[in-house]
Subunit: 417 residues, 2 copies
């Protein structure tokens, strides 16, 4: 059976624009991966009449209603009450949840007093499946009534995301007699429009598996998703599509389900038993930051230098001052000297360096804003590449970091640069 | 007159969870600042029937309907058509917009052919106010009909945000006979719950001006907003509230309308004619990245070192290897040596250093995960602070960078550390 879902997010902070509705994004992504059609998102404030109205509309147009938010301990948290009224259910007190809430308070709040309101969170719709909350105090729940499936998750994004995957997804899987499997295909070095040009006919034509692009600044991510009776069948459906993508984009496909370019590089270098360093001018620390976002990066990444001034390029990396004067700070020669310098100073096996002009202003020379030099150095020598991006400062920095990481990947994998 | 608005976002990519609905956040924030009540967000896919249904519902419960998305050149971009049908309006061809689209293509796509579909974007509702799009090809528009005000903005977040502020906000201001003014108060070093405890009574009590907290990881931001007949009146209403906040949080208030801590620091150092360097272990480049996110940072920020390994602390910053062996990499002494080393090596007037354990794993010593040392060095010597945060790796890094930047602020402003 085809299921249609509506995501109902309750919270005045969303209507004030304090935060973006990332809960709806996370839930939508998970539901789509389960093959459930999400047709509407509704956001409503902490107002009883309007929440009631939104629930009534959702009941007319969805058979799965998933709410986020409004499960907290204050008077304006009214999601449970409203859903119970809409489906003629009572709220029941759960002794075990009251104990969990007490324990959470003892552990996390260092003695902040538990108020009577906190116990309101221990009331849940009669006969529901309880979603225990190991990440906060408000439990979620799910029930079926009047041919509808209702699920409630807490609003704080961290709690919502964790309970979505730990509780809601397993609960919803039971509604389906088929399994959904998917793979993420990570691509870099080929523009999004070029990928779409090559693969659009396939994307439009395919129904099972499906192939869809996901936004990722400076890269392209495609997700292939299959619905089948078993994991093996799903994999068999996806294999030829993955092969077609490989054929279309070649070694621009840097990983399947690897998460990120920095993850891919760290995995490869760890396996090779080699270490990495970075020397950054225009990216100002972004490359190092992205690498060290990954837990365990310290086994591979030794560090590097952020050399924003000419003097620091000389002092930290030993780039000759005459070279900078002669060739300019944004030049192939300085990029090479930064990479080999970072390798020499840190003792890393591989070093990457970037120098460029992120803008908005130029550096007083005739080098145009948007110019980028990337160099990679290893025991076989140093290679350098030039790019020109006509994009704003923020995107320039993201693209520059991604191109630098991709040049490292290609070098350590022995691919042509 | 009180206005109520609904934001209607059209785009299947939102329902698939490819992207979060940041357009609705941006629009909500701008509308709230205008004193317009946003009561609902609705997200619907590129499906004619469901868009029609969503528009019909919005007409019953809002007097301002602002749409985002669905203005593109493809067959499934149907926002204009549906809104025109709902209000009995025709679409008219705009010769000048057709020329603008042609020009945009010539300049930006390097000769990519303009298809017949692109001209669909030159059709707009009869009698509307045109919102010219200087950031893409799809123009927006606004019209009034049946007592409702309808505004349409393109979906790509960059275009939506730019046109929101350039076109939609000025258009909506005319609906009001009063002016809305606001100030952002930036606070760091006092926890969100402590700020709320001290200021909640005032937040709940105030109606004009209002005082509301906005989420910002590692910091607290409050916005005070006043509605008045003139800018002077609005400022007069806000002044005592700002004074009360100052009295409540003291010099934890680091700026008003300054945007970010890094901005504040760069402004102060630029005025002082001084330069800055950073030495980062656990933050892995995040401090440098945040500083160099700001255009013009190069006038103040010389650079620094990302010293993730012990060897690189010695090689790049001259931290004695014995000191690291004796005291441990995560220690007050090493933080101090990193800061003074960074200052010496780069020649900067002020240097900041962080060393800590972001986790999830420890470093094999008895230093607990979550421990952080921050040091700041200038001509008067080096000071160090210890913090312990019991939070996950990602938040630890954000908090560590923010605390380091705040320590720089307090030092260069001559405040107690």
């Amino acid at each position: 059976m085809e299921h249609t879902a509506e995501i109902l997010s309750v919270g005045t902070e969303l209507l004030l624009g304090n935060i973006a509705n990332t809960d709806a994004k996370d839930v939508s992504e998970a539901l789509s991966a389960l093959g459930i059609n999400v047709y509407f998102h509704t956001v409503v404030g902490d107002n009883p009449e309007r929440v009631k109205q939104a629930v009534a509309i959702a009941k007319t147009r969805a058979d799965i209603i998933l709410t986020t938010g409004g499960l907290g301990p204050t008077y304006d948290d009214l999601t449970k009450q409203t859903l119970c009224e809409a489906f003629g259910k009572k709220l029941e007190f759960h002794e075990d949840i009251a104990r969990e809430i007490e324990e959470f308070f003892l552990k996390r709040t260092h003695g902040m007093p538990l108020t009577k309101n906190n116990y309101q969170q221990a009331y849940l719709p009669e006969g529901c499946t309880v979603f225990h909350n190991d990440w906060g105090t408000a439990p979620g729940c799910a029930f079926e009534a009047e041919g509808k499936t209702v699920l409630m998750l807490p609003g704080p994004p961290r709690e919502c995301r964790a309970m979505l995957h730990a509780c809601a997804v397993p609960y919803l899987k039971r509604l389906s007699d088929s399994e959904i499997h998917s793979h993420n295909l990570h691509i870099i070095g080929v523009g999004e429009s070029a990928v779409e040009d090559r693969l659009r006919p396939m994307m439009l034509e395919l129904t099972n598996p499906t192939l869809a692009p996901y936004a990722k600044e400076g890269e392209v991510m495609l997700r292939v998703t299959a619905k089948a009776g078993s994991a093996e069948e799903a994999e068999a459906l996806m294999a030829p599509v993955i092969e077609e993508v490989k054929a279309a984009v070649g070694d621009a496909l840097y990983g399947i389900d690897t998460g990120s370019l920095e993850n891919t590089i760290l995995d490869i270098l760890r396996e090779q038993g080699r270490t990495l360093a970075a020397a950054e001018s225009c990216t100002g620390g972004l490359i190092s930051k992205r690498i060290t976002d990954i837990p365990g990066a310290s086994r591979v990444f030794l560090g590097g230098a952020v050399t924003y001034s000419n003097g620091s390029k000389t002092a930290l990396l030993g780039v000759p001052a005459e070279l900078i004067r002669e060739k300019g700070a944004v030049s192939a020669e300085v990029a090479e000297a930064m990479a080999s310098g970072a390798r020499r100073v840190t003792g890393a096996d591989v070093a990457v360096a970037v120098t460029g002009l992120a803008g908005p202003d130029g550096d007083g020379t005739d080098v145009p804003v948007g110019t980028l030099f990337v160099a990679v150095s290893d025991e076989n020598g140093t290679a350098v590449q030039k790019h020109v991006f006509e994009i704003d400062r923020e995107r320039f920095r993201i693209f520059a970091a991604s191109r630098a990481l991709d040049m490292v990947r290609r070098r350590i994998c022995g691919l042509s640069l």
